[in-house]
Amino acid sequence: MSYRLQVNGEPVEVDAPGMRRLLDVLREELGLTGTKEGCGEGECGACSVLLDGAVVDACLVPICQVDGRAVTTVEGLAREGVLNALQAAFLETGGAQCGICTPGMLMAGEAFIASGAAPEEDAIREAIAGNLCRCTGYTKIIDAIALAAERRRVPG
């Protein structure tokens, strides 16, 4: 089957069986290996991407459900080699250590910031509760998301 979707703003046409995982389409058909596989069963969130702005686990989404929709991956965040506000905040606060959960965390963080919610600790914890990190204790990830959200609310 052939499916048309937008990936990081670019129109893409994919020939794949309808039940092929979005994760495999991204990584193996489109070469977007920034999205990671940690468990393959929706527990770890390493494969989080935005589907029409909502966070989904790409390991649980068959490509047939993505037809006509817009996908954002970690590769879609920086523009012309410049980190976006959330990426920069992760770098400053130390929110990325081994980096394997980072792409998924960034997508969860982007969705949280886009929601316009006040960057309170509880709300951020809730927003990233589907993304496991084994390195950071989450402290600096929460700091990074709060920092980027504040900067967006008070543009400088």
Binding site: E41, Q97, I100, E121, L132
Partner: protein, 802 residues
């Protein structure tokens, strides 16, 4: 989960978009940004599974399904088309059928006629051009085996992997003379490292007949050694290249050698690259875990609280093969007394083989197991003596000049009191403990508590380990005037690629961006030892500083100019130079490995933690609300990275304390998926405050002692102490699951509470009202005369879990 809402203050300099290397940003943070951070944040970083090699096949491992058996035959379904599948068995191993590490007991693949010792044991390898063929083929292989009797309980095992005994003074006499003896038995189970990137290796045949592997790993030269031996390769024919590594925590210290050999055997036969990428299920079910342990204590004290004798017995479950067990046990045994001065100590440690997958390295390496027991014991003694656990530690904690159980005189860099006071003060330990006693009369269905723990952690390898390793690290001034650091020390998130350039740049007087890091590729970098034991900053950092000093001297002697102004011209005139610097033993440090006497480590790091918990009295659930961890790292090289180590290690310890548990049946892990093996999410994680304490080590030019493992030793006993403070029962076995807490509360383990002499019960404790429902969660102490007995029947018995 109840949690105070904390608004995190925005920084003074708001910015919508910032370039990663913008000078203003670097200035604001004052420390260099993570070197490989931008690559990780943009998705450009290449982890093993991200690497593409044309024509690569997919590899898989056929594993035993018996815990103990003789392998009779490997049967292939004759109705399956095997022409599209490659199979490798043990008889095709060109070298020795051994995964080289400490002992030669573990085979790469069990041969037909050979002994299967655990249920996840590799027996044969398959490869196919596509995954569906591979999966179909896997189902068409049957192993014929003859079952042998299996042992799953280390206490029932007769096969000893390792044994250590440490004696100082006369513990027997000390106990006989003691006025109070407290006994305890403590148990800890398996813990999975659970790096979020699964194990992964890709092997490529080389033109010279050798093999190159790319993979997720901590120790390139361990794999290099294993490949040379099993594949019969020369130094040059075996090449190991680290890909970006998504966490290790000890779990990628040893098992990557096995996976690399498997991928290499397939690639060698196939003549094409082979990808061996584990899924989470295979990773949890087959790779190493933290060793389960049973630790028994008998401690003698005087009535006024002097520690006079410790008798400690440690039993670890090594699993089916030795792997790193002897050194894990060694570290666990040396640390088993905790950081406390005692004249009469006997510690015996033994590791027993069982028919379960081998246990191995995990952050802390034996110390978290035995220090959990030591801290439980100290807290229970404080209760029995009716003194504050903080006050008791103040009296007992090591000071400079004290002597450890191995007879090591702690000549310097002892910060037990500093970390203790820092954690207690920051957390408001004494005040909150008193307040809570007052508040607990109010009743309710939730009870809150606060707990404290203290730990020490020997820095670097045990005994003469570093001398045996004789690590080499190099700095090269290339002929185009670049400075390159060459080490085998891997980056797995902890910051190697950032702190090495920092140390070298500071020594050479140049900017950090002038210092390049060579890739961790055994064909390019020397063997600077494994990236384990919190040794990278302290040990390899020291070697690099030595190399940098030599390079600087060579250039300055020749040019007569300061290095920063002259090195580029020097390189143009004279060509490149490379300084290979070898580890020099720490002066005055000696250890007798036969008798286990002397300086077990060149120095120690010190850590204290205060945890606050809330326990739901209806469900037994524990919410760890906050942890303050104070860690003495010698010198902080990079505060953001060091805090990151403390925060991450603390959460792993909180998981160990409250939820991480492997259930076994017939030697097989039952919860071998991420849906069933639980680690803390952001909602489970406490607020973590890290305090970095600096008590430098004179043997390191930079004073650093390492940080990675310290927090892992200390948070779990602090959490269990807080649970006790909340509900009045001691949980003797990790994790403190709701089941165990409810069982303890219902009195299933009523004798848990250590007694004390009649009349020594404190008024404060007796006055503490039941937090809920009229059920007094704090059972009265048994009125037995001394000595006190540890409970023999505890909820959630460890053996019952199997």
């Amino acid at each position: 989960m109840k949690r105070a809402s904390t608004r995190i203050a925005p920084p003074s300099r708001p910015a919508e978009r910032v370039a990663p290397a913008a000078p203003a940003l670097a200035a604001r943070t004052a420390f260099p940004l993570r070197r490989e951070g931008p690559a990780k944040l943009t998705g450009e970083a290449r982890y093993a599974d991200d690497l593409v090699f044309a024509g690569a096949w997919y590899g898989a491992t056929i594993r035993s399904d018996d815990p103990h058996a003789t392998l009779i035959a490997i049967d292939r379904d004759p109705d399956f088309d095997w022409s599209r599948v490659l199979i490798v068995t043990a008889d095709e191993i060109p070298g020795e059928n051994v995964v080289s590490l400490i002992s030669d007991d573990q085979p790469v693949l069990v041969p037909v006629g050979g002994e299967i010792r655990h249920h996840a044991e590799p027996v044969a390898l398959l490869a196919a051009a596509d995954r569906s063929t591979l999966h179909a083929a896997k189902r068409r292989i049957q192993l014929r085996t003859e079952r042998l009797p299996a042992v799953f309980d280390p206490l029932a095992s007769t096969q000893q992997i390792a044994h250590f005994a440490i004696r100082r003074g006369d513990a027997e006499k000390g106990l006989a003379d003691a006025e109070l003896i407290v006994e305890g038995e403590y148990r800890v189970g398996h813990q999975e490292q659970l790096y979020i990137e699964n194990q992964a290796m890709i092997a490529l045949p080389r033109d010279d007949g050798g093999i190159t592997v790319h993979g997720s790993l901590q120790c390139p030269y361990y794999i290099h050694k294993a490949m040379k031996r099993a594949l019969n390769l020369t130094d040059a024919q075996a090449v190991v290249i680290q890909s970006e590594t998504g966490g290790g925590f000890g779990g990628k210290e040893e098992y990557p050698s096995m996976i690399a050999l498997h991928a290499a055997l397939l690639a060698r036969k196939l003549g094409k690259p082979v990808r061996m990428i584990y899924d989470r299920h295979e990773d949890i079910s087959a790779t190493t875990k933290r060793h389960p342990a049973i630790v028994r204590h008998r401690t003698g004290v005087t009535r006024d609280g002097e520690l006079v004798a410790q008798e400690i017995e440690v039993v670890m479950d090594g699993g089916a093969y030795a792997t790193l067990t002897p050194v894990v046990l060694s570290r666990g045994t040396i640390h088993a007394g905790g950081p406390y001065r005692c004249e009469n100590v006997t510690i015996t440690g033994r590791a027993m083989a069982t028919n379960t997958p081998p246990n191995g390295a995990f952050r802390g390496f034996g110390a978290p197991q035995t220090e959990f027991a030591a801290e439980m014991q100290v807290n229970r003694i404080a209760e029995a003596l009716d003194v504050s656990p903080l006050e008791l530690r103040r009296r007992w904690a090591y000071r400079e000049g004290d002597v450890t159980p191995t007879g090591q005189v702690l000549r310097e860099s002892v910060a037990a009191l500093e970390v203790l006071e820092a954690a207690a003060e920051t957390a408001g330990f004494s005040r909150k403990r008193t307040d809570r006693r007052r508040a607990s009369t109010s009743g309710g269905t939730r009870a809150s508590g606060i707990g404290l723990a203290l730990a020490w952690h020997g820095a670097g390898f045990t005994g003469a380990g570093e001398t045996h390793l004789a690590s080499v690290a190099s700095i090269e001034l290339t002929d185009v005037g670049a400075i390159r650091v060459l080490t085998a020390s891997t980056e797995m998130g902890q910051g190697t690629k950032t702190i090495f350039p920092q140390l070298v740049a500071a020594e050479l007087g140049i900017g950090i961006d002038e210092v390049e890091m060579a890739p961790q590729d055994t064909s390019l970098v020397p063997d600077s030892g494994p990236t384990v034991a919190s040794r990278t900053a302290m040990v390899v950092g020291r070697i690099l500083i030595g190399a940098a000093r030599k390079l600087r001297a060579r250039v300055e002697e020749s040019s007569g100019q300061p290095f920063p102004r002259s090195y580029r011209d020097f390189a143009k005139r004279n060509g490149g130079i490379r300084i290979d610097e070898r580890f020099e033993p720490y002066p005055g440090i000696t250890f007798d490995e036969e008798r286990y006497v002397g300086d077990a480590y060149p120095c120690y790091g010190w850590a204290a933690a205060v945890a606050e918990v809330e326990v739901d009295l209806d469900t037994g659930e524990v919410a760890v609300e906050s942890v303050v961890s104070a860690d003495d790292v010698g010198r902080v090289i990079h505060p953001v990275l060091a805090e990151g180590q403390v925060e991450g290690g603390t959460l792993q310890a909180v998981g160990y304390a409250t939820m991480e548990e492997i259930k076994l049946a017939d030697g097989r892990y039952l919860n071998d998926r991420l849906a069933t093996y639980l680690i803390p999410t952001a909602l489970d994680a406490p607020r973590i405050t890290s305090i970095l304490v600096e008590k430098p080590f004179s043997g390191s030019p930079h004073g650093a002692k390492g940080v990675g493992e310290l927090p892992m030793d200390v948070a779990a006993p602090a959490v269990v102490a807080a649970i006790h403070d909340a509900v009045g029962v001691w949980i003797h076995e990790l994790p403190a699951t709701p089941e165990r807490i409810l069982a303890a509360l219902s009195g299933a383990s009523a004798p848990d509470t250590p007694g004390s002499e009649p009349g020594t019960r404190s008024g404060a404790r007796a006055n503490r009202a039941a937090p809920a429902r009229g059920v007094d969660p704090r059972p009265e102490a048994p009125s037995d005369p001394l000595p006190l007995r540890a409970p023999q029947d505890k909820g959630g018995d460890w053996e019952r879990d199997r």
